[in-house]
Symmetry: C2
Subunit: 251 residues, 2 copies
């Protein structure tokens, strides 16, 4: 079983050994070589089989345990977990990534890209301290397969010299992609608050639904790597087209 090339850890590869090993083991799980509730070989066996140290074995296992493919029981062994319906959906993703994941074609209709004075709500969410500073407001309709499904109102806190225009935003599919590629800002984390509400007149018209239809309202604060807030966005989604999926775990 360990004879085919894909089953060996390559010492010369740029890919770390623990990562290669993780992929090998993951493959065994997904291919059903090891079945749910079954114990996988002991760490010291894996060490020998793949010619790596126990530390490396454990690092590979740590990843698979964290991702929920395996679970450990002290003194008993390491076991294959039951497969999941969907794998670790909803790590932080942009609308664009999100739609692609759901097999839908993302689109948008931009209504406004402008520098504005932040409201108190926005000022606070972005943890700003200079009241004279402006923020970039982006107001747009989001589409899935050409159907309007959401209204996004974003406030971005970046250098005012930065010029993002409707055109640059159109060119890049995703705002996060634009922030990353053009300004070196990577969004690594976000807080979201999810509420239910109903559509008022304007919202109903934009989303082509009846007044009083249910909407999912998501407010997100997004953070860059140094944990400075970059974006505050309020998102309103049609309940019939959009639901929110989360995986929770103890600890």
């Amino acid at each position: 079983m360990i004879d085919n090339p894909g089953d060996r850890v390559d010492s010369l590869s740029v890919v770390p050994k623990y990562y290669q090993l993780k992929d090998i083991l993951l493959r065994k799980i997904e291919d059903g070589v090891w079945k749910p509730k079954e114990a996988i070989p002991a760490e010291r066996d894996l060490e020998e089989t793949y010619r790596v140290s126990r530390t490396t074995v454990r690092k590979a296992l740590d990843i698979l345990v964290t991702k929920g493919y395996l679970y450990r029981e002290h003194g008993r062994g390491t076991f294959v977990a039951f497969p999941r319906l969907q794998q670790s959906l909803h790590s932080l993703s942009s609308f664009t990534e999100d739609m692609c994941l759901r097999g839908l074609e993302p689109g948008q209709k931009i209504f406004a890209v402008e520098w504005v004075v932040p409201s108190r709500r926005v000022f606070q969410a972005l943890q700003m301290d200079d009241p004279s500073e402006n923020v970039l407001r982006i107001y747009r309709l989001r589409l899935a397969n050409a159907v309007p499904i959401g209204i996004h109102e974003s406030y971005i806190h970046i250098q005012t010299e930065t010029h993002i225009t409707e055109e640059t935003l159109q060119q890049h599919k995703s705002l996060y992609e634009l922030l990353g590629e053009s300004f070196g800002i990577t969004v690594v984390e976000a807080d979201e608050t999810i509420k239910a509400t109903i559509a008022d007149e304007v919202e109903a018209k934009l989303l082509a639904i009846e007044i009083g239809s249910p909407l999912l309202k998501i407010e997100r604060t997004a953070w860059a790597q140094n944990r400075q807030p970059v974006e505050f966005v309020s998102m309103l989604y049609r309940a019939d087209w959009y639901s929110y999926y989360v995986r929770l775990s103890k600890e």
Copy 2:
């Protein structure tokens, strides 16, 4: 700075060294000894200061990085992250824990505790295979400070001999607590799907709101440690009393 007792790693303690070190470093961050965006001492310095190996230092740092207190930059150093508004809220919690966290007094009004034939939806969600098996249905109203805020309809897949009654459920504050203490089942993970909807006649009456009011609908599948589904629950919450909070991160 490192002279007071709380600042040393105790080799004899039952608490692992990496965990002790994590707490020491966390303290420094929270006390503001190290400030946001500042570099903390290099790993090799910490190694020497606390008389532990680099592996141990890195394990302590790993935890703090994962929890978002620190971030690393290859070749530059390890830095203190900006503090958060709320720390890692919304790991998996029961309604009871949830309410306590929000500073509200949880309560309930139980309508039904009964063994029933699962619907297809429930059968599928609980990944059952034996069509003759029954599940335990618990139907109840949830209160916060005596105000009705949610309707829970739970389906539990456990041994039929198990007898959970309205009384045992009343005694234990939380269903998860009951499952844990009485049957050794620990819920460690859950999937949740969150939707928006509006109240129908029955729901409106139970929740003391108008028909057509917005509701947050959360469907949760909860898993035990071996990743077998234990509970499927549909939760309906008043939008004016309940919102959902999540923290997302890349990867």
